[in-house]
Amino acid sequence: MSKLVRNLAAGLAVAFMVTACGGGGAESTGNGGEAADEPTAESSGAPERGDADLVIWTDALKIDAVKTVADAFGETNGITVAVQAVSSELQTNFVTANSANNGPDVVVGAHDWIGNLVQNGAIDPLQLTPDQLSGYSEKAVQSTTYDGQLYGVPYGIEALGLYRNTEVVKDEPKTLDDAIAAGEAAKKAGDVKSALNLPVGDLGDAYHMHPLYTSMGGYLFGVTPEGDHDPNDLGVGSPGSVEAAKKIAELGEKGQGVLRRSVSGDNSIALFTGGDAAFLISGPWALNDIRESGIEYAVQPVPGFAGEEPAEPFMGAQAFMVASNGQNKAFAQEFVSTGVNNEEAMTQLYEGTKLPPSMTSVQEAIGGDDPDIALFAEAANQAQPMPAIPAMAAVWEPLGKAYSAIVGGADPEKTMKDTGRTIAEAIGKS
């Protein structure tokens, strides 16, 4: 026999042996063969889908709470449930995985994703009865309703509040001007380094600046009679927004020096817990750190400026949504419509995440236990839901950068009007 034939024969023999041994694994290799012309779920954070009867994706902060609820559902219905954490870029990973038919059945995320998810056809509408919906706070339901359909069951709502270091400032300020004055007094006395910690950073933070913006009369998008946000009615560049820009410039680095770009999301909470700030504008996510630090604090909804409108920070709702390309859509709908949509599950979610609950009965139940959370729930009920329309993606960065520039001393009116034009162009092009 020639050498080639001999080698080939030996190779084939081994090949068949290997195939025979690995025959049982042929099923699981199916997942690896993605279509050549579709992008695959290869982003660093996306896990493999797995074989469970119900797969839920969430982020690392919430996984324990979601697991409790999911396991209970799995036991009641006799199915296996897998809860997987995607630590970064959950929204993008979900959309990519879902369009490649490799995504989860249920995803837990913020309500302002809904516009983008619907635009990508990534989630299905839910059909809760009007009776069931009345058990949730109105703003929460409003935030997860898009284009007339309900897309998510909200379990928690959050909004910014004003934390106060009570050792340094004893009285509760009625307006934001009072708060700033008290903070400045404390700074002069040398008790603190910073009067008010509002994250700005070099790139700006449109989310945290929003209560100040709305108090001076600014708005982002007009609202249609149906209650949806209208991308054609842009409020950036309007007279109200210019007033807000002027006030922010007054408080900025060239003015009173209350707002500074050196305070950003990285250090604003840490400075407060270190006792270096009199006031902090942040959300319920900071409560844990502040409690652990031992600082004596008090919480209140963000007050408006004296003589101006009340401050309305953004409200964000965390919700359960059903994926459109999940493999177990029936279980997914069942889980979201009955497994999550009850008082027990909502209470478990609250206890696991410490997020103010959106179900009114649970809100009332915790009122006595944790007054801080109750205050945040009140702040959230007064806040306006973040616009979920896809046009919002064109707003965050330019508006944030505008705020940063204004705090740094740029001309407020020109900056705000330029930014309005940039955003309108970006929306118009998409």
Partner: protein
Amino acid sequence: MAHASPPSSEADTPPTSRPWERKERHIAPLLFKILALGVVVGIAFALTPTLLGQERWGMLAAIWAITGVLLATYATGRGLPAKYLVPGTLLLVMFVVYPIVMTAQLSTTNFGDGTRGTKEETVAQIIGSSVVQDPDAPRYNLTVGTQGSPTTGPFAFFLVDPTTGEAFLGTAEGLEPADDEVTVTDGFVREAEGYTILSPTEVNDAGPELAEFTVPTDDGAIRQLGISQAFEGRTTLQYDEDADTITDVRTDTVYTVQQRGDREFFIDDQGSRVSDQSWRANVGLDNYKRIFTDERISSDFIRIFIWTLMFALLSVGTTFILGLVLAEVFNEPRMRGQKIYRALLILPYAIPGFISLLLWASFFNRDFGLINETLGLNINWFGDPTLAKVAVLLTNLWMGFPYMFLVCTGALQSISTDLKEAASLDGASGFAGFRHVTFPMLLVAVAPLLVSSFAFNFNNFNAIYLLTEGGPFTPENPTAGGTDILISYTIRLAFGAGGAQIGFASAVSVLLFVITGIIAAAQFRATRALEDVN
């Protein structure tokens, strides 16, 4: 005679001529080759049924082509150069050429947020999401039954009205009372004559078929909701395939397909869209045209390109000079504590890049950063465009010089000391000796590394993004910042406002690839001149 030479026959026979010895010497590599080729062919066989089942012909053809190439190269004794070149070439094709081809394919589409699926999928999703429930109708408790198979039907819904306790049978013809033939327990139908009741798992597995089954009623239809519920609702949108229009049955508005920008939507005569969801379409070279014709992009492109070049050049230049100086200094055999110094100097390279960058970003904070506090300055590092560039270069210098230090140390030690002695004897010592003797020889060894370091820094996304995110920005131009390099600018264009524009990003990636490739090719050409030195 004691010195007589041994019989010539044994001395003349070469050692490898005996057959049994020849085989023993080569049996281990042969076994390994058989095993490796066997695994390759085995993998191809193992994957074939799955790929056939999923109808992925391209993948199937590719796997068999690779197997064929590997077998042809290694199973025969011929083609020795191929045995060395094939693995590298295969990996190059699979992991470099193929992704580039795929990216180029994507760049001719409008793929991105809002255009993920095909037109059929989009229309199906729009129609499917338009079901509106009837608020007055009861929410039935659902049990699914079948007279045929649990996976394909035909199905029937057994519905129990929770308020009245009445049971109904829902089929494709409609709803009828069914109190007689069924047993109701706990508000659900548990048994029915002539029907097999599906378990929850079977209901879930019948997914798509069951989702299409509806029980028609006067106002709409009764549909499945999860495992245990059914609701009455109406599909408010209808698609007419021949006319390619969507009609809203409540208001009789007709939506037709119209082009808006790079994608199409269903739009009515007032100009409002039925949905923001669009579908993937081929746009030819529009994405490339946009790079050059869109004012916002083309005006910034040149400026950012020049800064990217300068950033790469300065990064390589400063790290190389510092690394070389230190390497030359520590090359002195009389210096004490060499090992300790070397270990300390390599530390910056040992710390993971991400962590160093995030730390350095906090060092440059104007009011609370380490640099301003220890030196007593009040420099607004990241607020001023020039200072931000300096900050980025400083950080990159700190992170990069240990690599150059290591490389230069190795290269310097490989230059024989005889040459340096000869040069100093001739009068060229100190800096002149270094410049005319050591440096050219060093450059021969180090030049490819310099070229690759340049290419790396040309696309050094992490350094820019983690330090400044591309900033500082001016309000007139929030898309292109002071320290933006081409790649961070591209990512912001593609994934910033307006959602992810993957098709457009692919076009810019292809352009970047061409630019980087041309520069690298030119540099390699230039380094060929150095080969004359040796």
